[in-house]
């Protein structure tokens, strides 16, 4: 399978990465090189094979559903580009 310029723009939008017109053609070439490389996987017979979900045989660790930590609002917003009163600020999303 290979991607065309429209698909490259669609993927970029899905990935929330702005691309300008000059970037589309090189990206298309690079993505198609990778897709051509992975194409060989279609020759493997995977009939009846389970897809891997865990690389080591282990049960998912669980803990009691209780509050174990908290009170770090200042630390949490410390690196945010814009904050107010320990809230993250974003551009207006609801009119």
């Amino acid at each position: 399978m290979s991607v065309d310029a429209t698909t490259v723009r669609r993927i970029a939008h899905l990935a929330r990465i702005a691309v300008n017109d000059e970037e589309v053609a090189p990206l298309q070439g690079e993505l198609n090189a990778i897709l051509a490389f992975v194409e060989q996987l279609s020759e493997v017979d995977v009939e009846g094979i389970e897809p891997m979900t865990s690389v080591t045989p282990m049960a998912m660790k669980k803990r009691t559903d209780v509050v174990t930590d908290g009170g770090h609002a200042r630390d949490i917003v410390f690196n945010a580009p814009e904050t107010e009163d320990h809230y993250f600020l974003v551009p207006k999303v609801v009119e």
Binding site: M1, E30, A33, Q40, V46, E50, M52, P81
Partner: protein, 497 residues
């Protein structure tokens, strides 16, 4: 007299214990070596004040007889590990100036055991790369140079990647050892390129908590150091159970250092025939044969084995890893941390932020990941790749069930290459660097890279040993046999200082 920074980690530990020098002396020797080596661009951030402060505490502990296992030993930290109050960038513009308010589990364990932090080491952006050329903060230059007509060439070589800063710093004596991470070969390939030792332990041996994520089902931390013993000492401190990482194994940490001297008598080493790839250089083949002979001479049985799905590991990786990366890196949205570039609305802000903050290779992998996970392609790409991953793991399980204790392969297809030489138009050219190491991540196994000789141009070459799950001890034992037989690689004289 040997400069203090040229000691091995074990020698430095013993010297501190014998009070031959102080932790402060040792830290200062490293800090001045780092300052003189800035041209290599191995350190992104030097933390001399922190180092001297930690060394002072170490000296007090040593004086009062309370020395901890790594007391006073100066280390470098790959800038993928979050360090409390110390800028952590993952080699990306998008995290420029990011100051974590927490400490990664791995570095926390090292400081708990008394180690001293020298600074943060350069890496490929978000650990995506095999040459340290994708870092937003510039390439790392390898301390190694080619021999041409009896003289050192001026061509700048890559240290490998993604842990290029870690490998270069260890090889250039800018730390006694360093933390590193390995998602497809990022510890073992740079170790091989720089004549150092690097181990990627079994998936789950080290906690991933507080380490910037690339591909969570493949990422694993490990050390790079100058000897097998030094790696064993460091891994012993770095690993261990952690409730905060649900994939971290609840297993006791064995005495890795004790395993170093075990030898390989009675072990069976497998030589996988599928690793004899098309176009393999005669030099790499000869090195591999030499490694097998060393293990045989030390009492191991060497047997050819088959791992039939080997060739599919690399393409399957380039579906699984980008898929996980596209999900993990969704968090860099200009809201909670890092760069923010305004846009016409919130989606525009996300898109502009990520366009400006991510480098080319990272964007490429996020987009491939987004594509293979998108509606209509998920089964054809992602599910198929995960099924192939099951087959790759099964190959190893069958080999181990047939009595194989460890597997010997080359670590890389070649010695280090020049900066700018590979992958500029076709990304796959660079991806092929990891052809021998990537299977190990896909199967979650431990793998160690150990120097075994030099190529015709005087550059180091490494061999890889792959072990059973959670049997790093056998890898340390076998790697020590190779290190002893091959002789420790003589690291380059400091042309950069």
């Amino acid at each position: 007299m040997t400069h203090l920074n040229e000691l091995t980690l074990a020698e430095a530990r013993d010297g501190l214990k014998a009070k031959d020098f102080s932790a402060t002396d040792l830290a200062k020797a490293h800090l001045s070596a780092i300052e003189a080596a800035r041209g290599l661009n191995a350190y992104l951030l030097e933390t001399p004040e922190r180092a001297l402060q930690m060394a002072e505490v170490a000296d007090t502990k040593i004086a009062s007889g309370e020395a901890r296992p790594l007391e006073g030993l100066p280390l470098g930290v790959k800038d993928l590990f979050c360090t409390h109050g110390v800028t952590t960038t993952a080699g990306s513009r998008i995290l420029e100036g990011f100051q974590p308010h927490y400490e990664s589990a791995v570095t926390h364990n090292l400081w708990r055991d008394g180690a001293v932090m020298l600074g943060k080491l350069n890496l490929d952006e978000f650990a995506m790369g095999s040459s340290n050329e994708t870092s937003a903060y510039g390439d790392v230059v390898s301390p190694w140079r080619r021999q041409e007509n009896g003289a050192l060439s001026d061509t700048k070589l890559v240290p490998g990647g993604s842990s290029g800063g870690s490998a270069a710093a260890v090889a250039a004596h800018l730390c006694l050892g360093a933390t590193a991470t390995d998602t497809g070969g990022s510890i073992r390939q740079p170790a091989a390129f720089t004549g150092t030792v690097g181990i990627k332990p079994t998936y789950g041996r080290c906690s991933r908590w507080g380490t910037v994520a690339y591909a969570s089902s493949l990422d694993q931390a490990g050390p790079i150091a100058r000897t097998v013993r030094d790696c064993a000492i460091l891994l012993g401190s770095m690993s261990g159970p952690d409730a905060r990482d649900t994939t971290c194994a609840d297993l006791p940490v064995p005495d890795f250092e004790a395993a170093v001297a075990r030898g390989v008598k009675g072990l069976t080493i497998g030589i996988p025939k599928e690793y004899r790839v098309e176009g393999m250089s005669a030099e790499i083949q000869a090195l591999w044969d030499k490694g097998a002979a060393m293990l045989k001479d030390a009492g191991a049985t060497v047997r050819e084995i088959s791992l039939p799905h080997t060739r599919y590991a690399l393409p399957a990786y380039y579906i699984v890893a980008p898929a996980e990366a596209s999900s993990n890196l969704a968090r860099y949205d200009g809201v909670r941390y890092g760069l923010r570039v305004p846009g016409k609305d919130i989606a525009g802000m996300y898109e502009n932020t990520r366009a400006a903050g991510f480098g080319r290779e990272v964007k490429r992998r996020i987009m491939i990941g987004t594509y293979v996970l998108s509606a209509g392609y998920y089964d054809a790409y992602y599910v198929r790749a995960q099924k192939i991953r099951t087959l790759i793991k099964r190959d190893f399980e069958e080999a181990y069930a047939s009595g194989i204790d460890a597997i010997l392969t080359p670590a890389t297809p070649s010695a280090a290459f020049g900066i700018g030489e590979k992958g500029s138009s076709d990304p796959v050219e660079m991806y092929l660097q990891d052809v021998f190491t990537i299977t190990v991540n896909m199967a979650g196994l431990p793998g160690i890279s150990v120097p075994a000789g030099l190529d015709a141009q005087g550059l180091p070459l490494g061999l890889q040993l792959i072990g059973r799950p959670f049997d790093e001890e056998t890898l340390f034992a076998a790697a020590q046999v190779i290190e002893t037989a091959a002789g420790r690689t003589k690291l380059p004289a400091a042309w950069w200082a």
